[in-house]
Homo-oligomer: 320 residues x 3
Amino acid sequence: MKTFFNVEDIGNLDQALAEAKEIKQNRFGFQKLGKNKTLLMVFFNNSLRTRLSTQKAALNLGMNVIVLDVNAGAWKLETRRGVIMDGDKSEHLLEAIPVMGCYCDLIGVRSFAGLKDRDYDYAETIVNQFVQYSGKPVFAMETATVHPLQAFADLITIEEHKKSKRPKVVMSWAPHCRALPQAVPDSFAQWMNAADVDFVITQPKGYELDPKFVGNAKVEYDQKKALEGADFVYAKNWSCPGVTNPADYGKILNKDMNWTIDKQHMSWTNDGYFMHCLPVRRGLIVTDDVIESDHSLVIPEAANREISAEVVLKKLLESL
Amino acid sequence: MKTFFNVEDIGNLDQALAEAKEIKQNRFGFQKLGKNKTLLMVFFNNSLRTRLSTQKAALNLGMNVIVLDVNAGAWKLETRRGVIMDGDKSEHLLEAIPVMGCYCDLIGVRSFAGLKDRDYDYAETIVNQFVQYSGKPVFAMETATVHPLQAFADLITIEEHKKSKRPKVVMSWAPHCRALPQAVPDSFAQWMNAADVDFVITQPKGYELDPKFVGNAKVEYDQKKALEGADFVYAKNWSCPGVTNPADYGKILNKDMNWTIDKQHMSWTNDGYFMHCLPVRRGLIVTDDVIESDHSLVIPEAANREISAEVVLKKLLESL
Amino acid sequence: MKTFFNVEDIGNLDQALAEAKEIKQNRFGFQKLGKNKTLLMVFFNNSLRTRLSTQKAALNLGMNVIVLDVNAGAWKLETRRGVIMDGDKSEHLLEAIPVMGCYCDLIGVRSFAGLKDRDYDYAETIVNQFVQYSGKPVFAMETATVHPLQAFADLITIEEHKKSKRPKVVMSWAPHCRALPQAVPDSFAQWMNAADVDFVITQPKGYELDPKFVGNAKVEYDQKKALEGADFVYAKNWSCPGVTNPADYGKILNKDMNWTIDKQHMSWTNDGYFMHCLPVRRGLIVTDDVIESDHSLVIPEAANREISAEVVLKKLLESL
């Protein structure tokens, strides 16, 4: 594995889940792989879970870790050729990225969608530059359109808690006070489509995700109908993906609080589990009683971030 | 030892001092204990000595260290239930703290007193939430009311320099231009009361510390009388603890420069040592000649922060 | 080696280059030296290359690394004696620096020239205080007037690419939109004067470097004449060093774009290599085609920063 952005990158999904199970029982068993290897974590945006869990996974593998916080405002990279750089951009990406590649063996990059230019975001402009110019394997720590370490951790969590061979998993849009990127729902959809689950997406009209992530998922606009019989309810807000109307990209079209997951919503399910990637706004996405119930998996999902990261780092190290 | 906030937590004080002495001679002798164990240091406030010395101590023990700087302004945690989180608080402590606990074995927390709400500060609201919800052993890297790593380092320093079996130790209030918390004097009083020393507190009227920290200490409002015969002078400013008048909590009641420790003050002592936890404002707390004299212990105290932290981390690791 | 600021500190230059060559083939071969040794990196200014490469070098040697970012604005150190510290300076350097020395074995310091007070900058006031008061070996991670880790990496790169025993190396001033310090050209001049090369400096009138760095270098104000026959072109901007007119210190005297290194400039050389320490402003210092050509050494120079740092750290460790 030379990069990690999409579900295909991890190879056979059943084998990856088996590897996750093995690593969870034996986190420190692969330190020969990481010895004298350095992970560089580049953050263009803030992070709590990703920062901690990825560091922990790398340390489990015996790696060295260097964390670089790039203040996106302060360190603007020039991307054009033929320009006189006499403005606020003090370095060109064609130098900055190969230089970062000099001092490490693997690079993780976090760079959120700006939500202003759909084409720029969906082209994954920033991380593709890292892939092209760093000379080192690159993996996503949440990019403009994907957050695969989260989706993989979610899949591990579903695998650990499922009560039937092919559970019903419903990803439900929920309201939020700020415009959020689509990276988490995009990746979750992509991974669920690849997994052995019955996957349904439910959302208000206008919130359709990009077709390349929706794939063959069933889309159901009636939230109640979608949730009926669900084994897992994956709540998440996202801003308008701009599929039907590109001018709406990144906007908040709807704050309908009827979509907030409460006890009544959960009563429609098959005694289902509640899931969310965190951080979560209580009262908007989910009510206190649901997230605090014994059917809430939010903390196990977070804990599995260490495991998904360790599997991914291990596979990247094995391919060096 | 499952938590470290108060002097009782360390167990027998003589044994702890003996362990400190042993560790100071053999800092790298306990690395089996720390192997594959991760310390998470969470800072809600700035730090120089605590940040460096605690990291150093953990590295001495062979631990991995992850440092998390929480910008108190940017990352506000919701603490109430039943609220719609549509304001500036993007995460609830009931998720954030267990998540942090997922990725480490021990947690150190720095969270200063806000000095606005005495009940909130003295209830140790923030760190108690870490104890309750993180699922991991928690220790203080200076909380609202205690700074035990400092007090333990101070006691080690006194032990190393005392010339009699039961030295006289005087903690003297001194003036300052800003309102400071009471965590350092609170802990120092608590530890001195537990140690085999003759302990006196001297301060202007109105600056009485909370009775639970004063304990059986002798309180003397006449600074000269207090300092007479002192073997160690522990200077420190603190703002009004609000014991006699809660409305004065956190205020500066007095800037009397007669309390500044100068050569004359030291002349009243038994050829005593000068101590301060640092950082110190010269000219307000102490004069240049006193802090630079060969009877100043401020640098040895700071150096012993590595030792007190290593003893505490070792004890926490042994209890895992 | 107890400090590392000037070329003399490294000892015999041929031996140092031989050691660099050996380390580049065997980066992890000296981990016994670094075991249980801690490097403290103190940054008063931002850093990308120095931060990453020095960390990487220390990790190669098996050291522990602690990074301290000092916000120069927020943490002002008092340097005078006899003053009442009731202003914005909360700590005196006479305490802060020895304290930092308590928790490490080696200290690297980055502290740029302020470009306001030539005497203060050229006296290296800040780093000399670290040398005097920390009690530990100190090395430059770019100071007010020197950046020896860069100059050493540049020399290694020249050694690796030279086609004759004594190549011609030309350092050429180039225009820039901001006032930059002289640390890089100062050190480069110092190291080239000590190396077995034919060294020429070319710059507009008024940009003369301090004589102690110019040494015996040939100075040629006609850029074309200087570049003729050059094997290596080392482009760099610097602000006025204030040698002929101290009142001009730190000012931009000239933005003449005829000094920008383009293909025509390179055509005057002996099929020469282009060098720059990075970050570089394209269009001002150098054109896209020159920096992107197969004769550009900017990335190899950056990669050799890991090597120069490892040689220096190794020598400092050997002298402990």
